[in-house]
Amino acid sequence: MTPSLLHYTLHLADNALIIGHRNSEWCGHGPILEQDIAISNIALDYIGQARNFYQYAAELTGNGATEDSLAYLRDAIDFKNCLLTELPNDDWAQTTLRQFFFSAYQYFLYQQLQNSSNQQLAAIAEKALKEVTYHLRWSSEWVIRLGDGTEESKQRMLRAIDELWSFTGELFTPAGYEQQAVTEGYGVDLSQIRENWYKKVTAVFEEATLPLPKENVWMQTGGKTGVHTEHLGFILADMQFLQRAYPGAEW
């Protein structure tokens, strides 16, 4: 086994765990009960995806590693999630737009990954794709509803686009282990899903009467190789506290 397979698997796991954690922060704070339930459900799907990837990563790591040790005992520099997933929650427009950008990415990614030569990655993707389909549908509807809604909701969506757009480029900028994963036959070539993603965003923005930002502008990167915003440290402090203070605690 090459280290790329482990890094690639951890990258997929970290993406799911971190955006899942952000979504879970909405639990009890959603704008209305049904939407609170919706985003909490989506958070739960992500925790499930993360567990499957971490369990496999633990197998690859050996030395007694478990899904829990990988989630709770690694530091920020070891996390390989995209920066988009760790940005703090702002308003509902920003949250649903981030969800839309990310779900569209995951939808096309898992569509390819389910044909991976690595059976475990393929099986996790095949399973998760069904749920991601719901996420994409739900989040597209929110982008359209708010974009083509009231003056206020449109302003909020426009602000969210300004805030998030420069974090979308990283989704399609392959890290070394992703390039290696393509060479070794189990990874997804991001340049191939980029076009589909942009097409989906174009169609939804059009329906939402939102202006499409330029494709080739300067983009933030770093998360995939462990160079994070300061926000990730706060997430980990929150999430990892218990296992750090009481190692091995179970309930």
Partner: protein
């Protein structure tokens, strides 16, 4: 659960043991939808028995598949299965998670669907109508489990558990869960 069988020797054959195990698993409920057993749900995919040479009832390998990736009921189901089997004398039980092929509501038993409806949850429709990412699709026509009216509306794609959507009947006004196609 006690397996009642006068001829104890048949228990030693693999086939009889397998049958006994399936019968036990049929009594293990889904903690969130207790009218359904793990067998009704289609969560148990395979039971493999290795008969023991003497005394004990042999060892079991049970392949299961989660309904939704993050379903928190899965761990509880596994534990309940283990306990029920242990009570019946199967002490060596191993579980293996199988993700592919991915679980689908097509695997739910017909009797399971009837039990769901009687419990007040609309069972999954026979043919999956909307499982694409396209926004604002026409809603599936789901009959109300209380008055059977098709005059119902979707409240939310996401319900009280990962596997359900929220609906309301426009006729009898009953809000109800729909076990959505997956």
């Amino acid at each position: 659960m006690e397996i009642k069988n006068n001829d104890t020797t048949t228990h030693t054959t693999t086939e009889a043991l397998e049958k006994a195990v399936w019968a036990i698993l049929e009594t293990v409920p889904d903690p969130e939808v207790p009218v359904l057993s793990v067998v009704d749900l289609g969560v148990v995919r395979k039971v493999e028995v290795t008969p023991a040479t003497t005394g004990s009832k042999g060892s079991l390998l049970i392949s299961y598949t989660p309904t939704y990736t993050g379903c928190p009921a899965m761990d509880v189901m596994k534990m309940t299965m283990q306990m029920a089997l242990q009570e019946a004398g199967f002490t060596a039980v191993q579980f293996i998670q199988v993700l592919s092929p991915a679980w689908t509501t097509d695997w739910m038993s017909e009797s399971g669907k009837e039990k769901l409806k009687a419990y007040g949850i609309a069972p999954p429709q026979y043919k999956q109508a909307v499982c694409t990412p396209d926004s604002f699709q026409q809603e599936e026509a789901i009959p109300c489990p209380r008055c059977n009216s098709y005059h119902t509306r979707l409240v939310s794609q996401f319900g009280s558990t990962a596997c359900k959507a929220l609906y309301q009947c426009n006729d009898c006004k009953e809000p109800f869960d729909y076990f959505k196609c997956h």
